[in-house]
């Protein structure tokens, strides 16, 4: 039975040695009233104990460096190790965010170059690197929209999102003080144009869209959609989580989007860290530039860079300092490593791999029980429905996912997007080999065969993991969210 670090060690043990007090000791520097009576009960362990505890904990994780991780919508592509090396260079990693810009020219040039590169990929002229993640970028984008309309004396109240939207989109809408209006999805998996026409009016501030969307479908009506949205004076927002499908192939700006967020931790390969850090830069059209978060990076006539914090129309700051620079270093290294061709090649291969996997599953007959939700081909990911499997084999998508764990694979995203019954959202990414895709397809088919014989195997899976199915209901009913002493 696993122990927490608080259950290990012994009084007096420690890893840390405090540097010696090298100044005359003075009493009473802190009024007693401000003093803490009892110190926090932090662990008391030696360095060897600390290392062993966390090394052994790490072994209870599945990770991308160890196996296939087709978590749809998350773009789990390989994280090149060079990026960790360059991000760790002291000139980057020990640079203080308030250092005089004149003494941080390398960092500002890197950010400038990254902004230019992202602008080119988005097809939009201006970029802010500040947002901390995708949803933070969404919030920035909707607040920019609000600032834009306010600046023109308008107060709009609604934001549209399709029912395929990721949860962060509606959550963002509420946080930004708008009313959410949902749009339907048409038979092709795109936006229901009539529904859009019906709901698009002067009260609408923005339409948030993902393209390709979370079904892995590229909306071929995108130009018409943009036209409708712009006609009513709303902005068209691009959720860039799926950008990995179209880098160098199709640009949001050219599709008619006004605001785009990037998930650097997806398309531009940040290690996902078990749930972050990420980075969510935004690119915007000319007319939105005045409202960008401050500061913005500017280049002087002499080529030197500076931070401009005096931006009267800016929405202000979303967070401290200039954003997740450590992520910028990695994504910049990625862009420079791949170059123009490499980025396009990455997207092409991502789409190729997704379609190959889909085709393999078709060949193996797996699609009979797990039909493709929409369309025939897909972009970088695709959605299967587990409904027939549930009906015919008595195992749910959840069971399939858990059984995949015993095959050594991370399951796809499950039960999302919501409009697909028993959904499985599969995104292989471009950094996987054909052998891996074949093995994964084979595993899925095998699980279906196995379920036909005996559904209870999958229903009780997994068997080979550090723990088996966990009681999430109990956890929520009586929350134990910290160590009790």
């Amino acid at each position: 039975m696993t122990q927490t670090i608080f259950e290990k060690g012994a009084p007096g043990r420690r890893a840390f040695t405090c540097p010696p007090l090298d100044v005359p000791a003075v009493d009473g520097l802190l009024p007693e009233a401000f003093r803490r009576a009892q110190e926090p009960r932090l662990p008391e362990v030696s360095e060897p104990e600390l290392v062993r505890h966390y090394v052994n904990l790490s072994k209870r994780n599945f990770d991308l460096d160890s196996g296939f991780y087709p978590l749809g919508s998350c773009t789990m592509k390989h994280n090149p190790r060079l990026h960790e090396r360059v991000a760790a260079l002291p000139g980057h990693s020990r640079l203080h965010p308030l250092q005089d810009p004149a003494r941080a020219q390398g960092a500002l040039e890197l950010m400038w170059n990254l902004e230019r590169a992202l602008a080119e990929v988005a097809g939009l002229p201006h970029v802010s690197l500040q947002p901390s993640a995708g949803s933070h970028g969404e919030l920035a984008g909707v607040l920019l929209t609000k600032a834009l309309h306010a600046d023109h004396g308008e107060a709009r109240t609604k934001v549209l999102t399709p029912d395929t939207a990721h949860g962060t989109n509606p959550a963002t809408v509420t946080m930004a003080g708008y009313e959410l209006v949902k749009l339907g999805t048409n038979a092709d998996g795109g936006v229901d144009i009539d529904d859009l026409r019906a709901k698009a009016d002067e009260t609408v501030a923005c339409l948030m869209l993902t393209n390709p969307n979370t079904l892995g479908i590229f909306d071929h009506n995108i130009e018409e959609i943009a036209e409708i949205v712009h006609e009513v004076g709303a902005t068209l927002y691009y959720d860039g989580a799926n950008l990995n499908a179209v880098m160098g192939i199709s640009r949001p700006g050219d599709m008619g989007f006004d605001i785009v967020h990037f998930n650097l931790h997806k398309s531009f390969t940040q290690p996902h860290g078990g749930g972050g850090p990420g980075s969510g830069p935004i690119a915007v059209a000319e007319h939105i530039e005045p409202y960008l978060p401050r500061p913005v990076i500017v280049q002087g006539a002499d080529g030197t860079f500076d931070l401009d914090d005096h931006r009267p129309k800016s929405i202000g700051k979303l967070r401290g300092f200039q954003g997740n620079y450590g992520c910028f270093v990695r994504s910049y290294a990625y862009i420079r490593s791949l170059g123009a061709e490499g980025l396009k090649d990455a997207s092409e291969t991502a789409v190729l791999n997704a379609n190959y996997l889909l085709a393999r599953l078709r060949t193996l007959g797996a699609l009979n029980k797990l039909p493709l939700a929409y369309g025939e081909l897909c972009m970088h990911e695709f959605v299967l429905s587990g409904a027939p499997m549930k009906r015919d084999l008595q195992i749910r998508t959840l069971d399939l996912a858990k059984r995949l764990l015993d095959h050594g694979f991370h399951p796809p995203t499950v039960y999302f997007p919501l409009l697909v019954d028993e959904a499985l959202l599969i995104e292989p990414t471009e950094t996987e080999t054909r052998e891996t895709l074949d093995a994964f397809a084979e595993a899925l088919a095998e699980i279906l065969r196995e379920a036909a014989d005996d559904p209870s195997v999958a229903r009780n899976a997994p068997y080979s993991t550090p723990v088996r199915r966990l009681d999430e209901a109990a956890a929520a009913k009586h929350p134990v969210i910290r160590q009790a002493f």
């Binding site: 972050g276 061709e341 085709a359």
Partner: protein, 445 residues
């Protein structure tokens, strides 16, 4: 692979899915790819054009601090098993990350003396704004009162976010270096949904947190404290002075400066707000065999379940940085955090004495300080800083960059990496710089 798919070419895959009109008909206008060694050299050349804390003796703080990051932190963060997975949606194969979250939550709860902590938010300033949003959802009141002792970036983030969901932001000024008690009390009323102060405040002064919290007692306001975690080994914790929600910047806990990020924000609260917390929360449970295990819990707060009704839109947070945080706190240990706090307390006092003894330098305030303090210079602050940096020492932050009311202010921060020798060197160089500036001013006058 194409034949398996049943297309003739890659292009066909795209032609059949993307309208020609929105296809990019030219290559991206980006440089060609490079070999690994060349990318390394390029990034190294850029790094070489930054003056980092490795290149100068830096007393720059103001929200992020050059603490020593122990080697075990790097080693564990670089473990593939922690570095490369995503959010633990599949708990059976994510027990490592989930238990780390649970341990992190425990450490933060101990630090703040508050029972509830989430698994991290983005960083400090946005955490302050997130706390105000929690208050808005909790009591719907239209107003938030914030001390000007709160980090300028946090106040900016608050205003930016409030412009969206709709909070009127009222700022209360400082007096003698701490929040003006009368103005604070005066600003709080029945429309006040949240009050926010920072401990120690931006000027390094220790606030009378208990008094600030007490002033809000008869209002509906959620009391929010933004705390620097490092002094919490010696400073009365928020949970013991009436704070409802404690947030803060976690960078100083085992995270690198990284020119401002990524780091993490911590977010702790009283039980009352458990179901209104933003972000991930790990909880303990057991598996079908009765084995102890951990899961993401109370997810009905979150965007992927509640969508527009979620308590926040946050999804990807800062798990890896929070790991660094709990590993760092474990490395320090129960007594180490206290010893570190005492060391900083003593050195900060010594530094304040040494610097205020310098000609043309005086204390901006006389309040108790624990790791950072504010000075007034009788010379142009930016020019003094430049002179010091040319001499290899960064004396701190020009407060005037953010506070019109302190044009002559210099904020000096310490970490355990700044020794007495460094402090004495700073006193000499700062003295010389101030003297030189006054002299040239005298000359030009």
């Amino acid at each position: 692979m194409l034949s398996e798919i049943g297309v003739r070419s890659l292009d066909e895959l795209f032609d059949r899915q993307i309208p020609a009109a929105v296809r990019l008909q030219r290559p991206l206008d980006l440089p060609a790819g490079m070999a690994e060694q060349d990318v390394y050299e390029h990034l190294r050349a850029l790094a070489a054009r930054n003056t980092s804390a490795e290149d100068e003796i830096s007393f720059l703080g103001a929200g992020m601090y050059d603490h020593y990051v122990p080697a075990v932190v790097d080693m564990l963060m670089e473990r593939s098993e922690f570095l490369t997975p995503y959010t633990p949606y599949q708990p059976e194969i994510s027990q490592g990350g989930l238990q780390v979250m649970f341990e992190y939550q425990t450490a933060i709860s101990e630090l703040t003396a508050l029972p509830v902590s989430n698994a991290s938010v983005y960083e400090g300033p946005s955490a302050v704004a997130a706390a105000a949003y929690l208050a808005k959802l909790a009591n719907g009141k239209p107003k938030v009162v914030v001390s000007r002792g709160v980090h300028p970036h946090a106040r900016a983030a608050l205003r930016t976010l409030a412009a969206g969901y709709g909070h009127e932001v009222v700022e209360v000024g400082l007096r003698d270096g701490v929040t003006d008690a009368a103005a604070w009390a005066g600003a709080i009323d029945q429309d006040t949904g949240a009050v926010i102060f920072q401990q120690p405040n931006f000027l390094g002064a220790v606030e009378d947190a208990a008094a600030l919290a007490a002033a809000a007692k008869d209002s509906p306001a959620v009391v929010v404290g933004s705390y620097d975690p490092i002094p919490l080994g010696i400073l009365k914790p928020p949970g013991e002075v009436g704070v409802d929600v404690a947030v803060g910047e976690g960078q100083s806990l085992g995270n690198r400066l990284d020119f401002g990020g990524p780091s993490f924000g911590y977010f702790a609260a009283t039980d009352a707000y458990l179901r209104r917390m933003p972000g991930r929360i790990a909880g303990e449970t057991h598996d079908v065999d009765g084995k102890r295990g951990f899961v993401l819990t109370l997810q009905t707060r979150e965007q992927h379940i509640r969508r527009e009704k979620a308590t926040s839109n946050i999804c990807t947070a800062q798990a890896l940085n929070a790991l660094a945080g709990v590993v760092y706190l474990t490395w320090l240990g129960r007594h180490g955090l206290v010893e570190l706090g005492e060391l900083l307390l003593q050195r900060t006092h010594y530094a304040r004495e040494a610097l205020t003894a310098v000609d043309g330098v005086e204390a901006l305030h006389e309040q108790p300080v624990v790791r950072e303090f504010a000075l007034r210079l009788d010379a142009p602050v930016d020019r003094v800083i430049a002179r010091c940096q040319d001499a290899g020492i960064n004396p701190g932050f020009a407060i005037g960059r953010e506070y019109d009311e302190y044009p002559d202010g210099l904020l000096v921060a310490l970490t355990e990496r700044r020794s007495k020798e460094h402090i004495d060197r700073l006193a000499d160089i700062l003295g010389a710089a101030v003297a030189a500036e006054r002299h040239s001013a005298g000359v030009s006058a």
